[in-house]
């Protein structure tokens, strides 16, 4: 067991975790943040994407202990004061999801993209989002949502 002291969605969290506790299981089962999903469990599908100090990572491949003394942001932490992040609003406005299982990961990856590149080209979006699989939308709506968020065309 190891005691970890980190910030999750802006709030300090101090917990005892098993050495082999996955970050994803820690978030979902220990903290009840079930927005992050487990899809493939091997870092391929992107459904478990969260931000670690602003970097997009697959939480199914990271240990909870790895996040000790770091800042984790999950999909639950994006909205501020009850107002959705422009990316979240764009996914609604432009139909960037259907079943929604991959959506948390899609949005968190896109968040990391726009934080580092506020106006990505379509090719840059496609390249960046390659690690987030979706079996419903056909991807066009996801790309469109990210473009709309980047261009401020949301909440119309």
């Amino acid at each position: 067991m190891k005691q970890i002291d980190l910030r999750v969605n802006g709030e300090r969290v101090v917990r005892e975790v098993a050495d082999n506790r996955l970050l994803l299981d820690f978030l979902r089962n220990d903290l009840g943040l079930t927005g992050s999903k487990e899809g493939c469990s091997i870092g391929v599908c992107g459904a478990c994407t969260v931000l670690l100090d602003g970097q997009a990572i697959s939480s199914c491949l990271a240990l909870a202990a790895f996040a000790d003394k770091h800042e984790v942001t999950t999909i639950e932490g994006l909205a501020e004061d009850g107002k959705l992040d422009p990316l979240q609003q764009a996914f609604i406005d432009f139909g960037g999801f259907q079943c929604g299982i991959c959506t948390s990961g899609q949005i968190m990856s896109a968040k990391a993209l726009l934080d580092s590149n506020a106006h990505p080209s379509e090719d840059e979006i496609k390249s960046w989002m390659m690690g987030n699989l979706c079996r419903c939308t056909g991807y066009y709506k996801i790309i469109e949502s990210i473009q709309a968020a980047a261009e401020g065309r949301v909440g119309a």
Binding site: T34, E38, E76, L84
Partner: protein, 127 residues
């Protein structure tokens, strides 16, 4: 080519806010009292063959779960399901037994005695 279908009044995706904020609850997110949990196990070895199955460990006792919705056409709003709920599972087990021991059964139940007899017959040693 263009296809067009009347949709009436276009409404927003009512499930949208829940799905983009992580609040939407999927079955994997739910924990209920007395909940049964199933888990898919996959071989870590590509194209591996199942050599044997210990049914006491790999196939736990099967449970029947009645989820009442009360929208059926029968009296008391019930609905007959016949053998539908029994179709998939025995077939899967029959295939698993075939994979494990090489003998295929076409009748249920697959008792230990039947398996033994079939294996003896296949080996040509008699019972």
């Amino acid at each position: 080519m263009v296809t067009a279908s009347p949709v009436g009044h276009g409404v927003g995706h009512v499930k949208g806010p829940g799905k983009v904020s992580g609040r939407a609850q999927y079955t994997a997110d739910l924990t209920l009292t007395g909940m049964l949990v199933g888990r898919c196990l996959r071989s870590p070895f590509a194209h591996a063959h199942i050599r044997s199955i210990d049914p006491t460990r790999d196939i736990p006792a099967l449970s029947t779960l009645l989820l009442e919705t009360r929208h059926g056409p029968a009296p008391y709003e019930g609905k007959a399901i016949g053998e539908l709920s029994n179709v998939a599972l025995p077939a899967a087990i029959v295939n698993a037994v075939y994979d494990a021991v090489g003998v295929r059964f076409t009748e249920l139940p697959i008792t230990a005695e039947k398996v033994y007899t079939a294996l003896q017959a296949r080996e040509g040693t008699g019972v």
